[in-house]
């Protein structure tokens, strides 16, 4: 019963311990981090299995009843995202330790735990203002992680990243103020009931609020034209951090799915048209721009950041159709794209640590090239969506979901041509970086000081890749689960009644009081 708060509490306790108790002992920090990540996975798995049969778990903080107190809610969607975060965090942590990135600055492990805390909280909360608070928790930790290990280029990118997100937070507060002024509540389930009561003649306020909120989440999800913060900051961030950030764009997508299926759902008259008329074209545009960016990039790290924008575009295309099939497809693709993007960022670091620069030009072969290029090949196939890996399955599901929509021709044309462009982009990058290198021979002996990748780093990358393979092999089962999840999203009544009807303080007294 109390387990649902564990994903938030656990890192919140570990992080101060790491700062206060193990400040000068990197080995203790590492073991605490790994143990925390493993415990996190265990808890997340428990929550996931508990919610898999469709039960909605409610946790009232301080036992205050729903519209007055803050609640955490665990349904299929929340627990799936929690599990994904926990698994990703473990592999990223393994890589950060293996590649010794965590030693290059201070407080990496503490910030990492705070970041996990914020992400978990954002996935579990059932209250919009609480969502804002958890966004800020994950953002302030991400500011620290983003400039971990310092350097002027990184600090400059950090300034842009922080400023853009501060603007986003301000916008979020404007949206929340407008929603509160219109409905008098910020609890999502309560809000879902109240927006239907808004006078149809006076919907201006609530419409403005819903657009503002969508803008905020679109900034997080890096939907064009609100994506400008992403390329510099992800490319300049330490690669393990960028790999963890792969889940952060999904926080935005999650919030859009949650709020725009439950509160401002497509049938709601006041906000109808927001999804299909505005969100879908923006998503198609970000898919196109992302993949063109993959082809146009001159450096490998930039290439991956644009692939992230493109894949978020793909997710958003599928989300913005707002049918049961399309949300299921979007969630499958979201899991895949998180894993694929994280893997690519880690591989970029494997390459970058062994080359003079990451520019797409032929340089002498790097040590351990066979292994690294093989992994890049696999991750690129997954990201570009070629068979046999999960990107292909996900894209197929999205195309299938788009088949009956009015904008089918546009959607199909853009998805397919964007895929082609990204295939060309990745192929060009891979062959320049790895194949052309072969003709130049090995690096001169002076550079032999660069060690081959640490075993732990390879385990981390290999683990993520094998998860992609597992996702492909069990695509049928996973998609079946996603369909059930999506069905739950489109019948929000059990969620709403669980939140609003569970007694607590300030509602009808319990027995024995």
């Amino acid at each position: 019963m109390h387990w649902i708060i564990a994903p938030v509490i656990l890192p919140a306790l570990l992080a101060p311990f790491i700062v206060l108790g193990a400040r000068y002992h990197i080995s203790i920090q590492r073991s605490v981090s790994i143990a925390g990540s493993l415990a996190q996975i265990a808890v997340a798995l428990g929550l996931f299995l508990g919610a898999a049969d469709g039960t909605v778990t409610l946790y009232q903080l301080g036992d205050w009843a729903a519209p007055f107190g803050i609640v955490l809610v665990g349904d299929r969607l929340s627990t799936l995202m929690v599990l994904l975060t926990a698994v990703l965090a473990l592999f990223v942590m393994l890589y950060a330790i293996g590649s010794r990135w965590d030693e290059r600055g201070r407080h990496f492990h503490a910030l990492f735990q705070f970041q996990i805390m914020g992400i978990m909280g954002a996935f579990l909360t059932g209250d919009l203002f609480n969502l804002f608070v958890f966004f800020e928790v994950l953002l302030i930790a991400s500011y620290g992680l983003m400039i971990h290990a310092g350097g002027t280029a990184r600090l400059r990118a950090g300034v842009q990243y922080v400023l853009f997100n501060l603007l986003g937070s301000t916008l979020f507060l404007f949206a929340l103020g407008a929603i509160y002024a219109e409905t008098g509540t910020l609890n999502m389930a309560d809000l879902a009931e109240r927006v239907t009561l808004v006078d149809p003649q006076a919907t201006a306020g609530i419409r403005v609020a819903s657009v503002l909120l969508l803008l905020v989440f679109a900034i997080k999800a890096a939907v064009v034209p609100l994506h400008f913060w992403l390329p510099s900051s992800y490319a300049e961030a330490p690669p393990p951090v960028a790999a963890l950030f792969a889940i952060m764009t999904k926080v935005g997508a999650y919030a859009i799915i949650r709020v725009y299926t439950m509160v401002f759902h497509p049938e709601l008259e006041a906000t109808a048209g927001l999804h299909g008329v505005w969100l879908l074209p923006a998503a198609l545009l970000s898919l196109a721009i992302g993949m063109v960016g993959v082809l146009a990039a001159r450096k490998l790290d930039r290439l991956v950041t644009f692939a992230v924008i493109g894949s978020m575009g793909m997710v958003m295309v599928s989300i913005s159709m707002f049918t049961q099939d399309s949300i299921a497809a979007a969630l499958y693709y979201m899991v895949h794209s998180t894993l694929a993007a994280a893997t690519l960022f880690l591989i970029v670091d494997l390459v970058g640590a062994r080359r003079a620069n990451l520019r797409l030009s032929a340089l002498p072969m790097i040590p351990g090239a066979a292994m690294i290029s093989g992994m890049f090949f696999m991750a690129a196939i997954a990201m570009a969506g070629l068979p046999p890996l999960s990107g292909f399955v996900g894209k197929l599901l999205i195309l299938d979901a788009a088949f009956t929509t009015p904008l089918m021709a546009w959607t199909w044309a853009i998805i397919l041509s964007a895929s082609l462009i990204s295939v060309v982009g990745f192929a060009r990058a891979g062959s320049t970086m790895f194949w052309k290198a072969k003709s130049l021979g090995h690096q001169s002996s002076a550079d032999d000081t660069v060690a081959p990748p640490a075993a732990l780093s390879l385990v981390a990358v290999g683990g993520l890749l094998s998860l992609i393979v597992v996702l492909t092999i069990f695509a049928g089962q996973v998609h079946g689960f996603m369909s059930e999840l999506s069905a739950q999203l489109f019948q929000p009544e059990p969620y709403i009644s669980t939140v609003t009807d569970t007694p607590g303080k300030l509602s009808t007294p319990k027995e024995g009081y």
Binding site: L155, R156, L167
Partner: protein
């Protein structure tokens, strides 16, 4: 009173937006600060404007002040204060490192073909 509060929010937002679109970090940070002031007042006003009304339910009183937006504003103030401090520190670091406080990307120094060994 409504007009005063509304125009204050409007002017602060306008000033904030203008400053945010400047090219150097100092005005941009000031702009962000102005925007957060504006949003704080906006949140405060979202619970309706009342003067001298009690926030706790009592017998015989018709008008109440909504206490929730005040709690929200307090949270928002604390968070924006912390965030502004963070961005000032990072911006200082970036400025001292590169001797340049523009917020845009530094011009790329690489020329095509320079890195090609072939």
């Amino acid at each position: 009173m409504e007009f005063l509060v509304a125009s204050a929010i409007g002017i602060m937002t306008a000033v904030g937006l203008y400053l945010v679109m400047r090219l150097r970090t100092f005005p941009v940070i000031l702009g962000i600060a102005m925007l957060t002031y504006a949003v704080n007042v906006f949140l405060f006003a979202s619970g309706r404007l009342t003067i001298g009304a009690p926030p706790i339910l009592r017998k015989g009183i018709e008008t109440y002040a909504d206490p929730l937006p005040q709690a929200l504003v307090l949270t928002a103030i604390v968070i924006s204060f912390g965030m502004t401090a963070v961005v000032v520190m990072i911006a200082l670091g970036a400025y001292l490192g590169s001797d340049d406080d523009n917020v845009d990307d530094a011009p790329e120094e690489d020329t095509p073909g320079k890195g090609d060994a072939a």
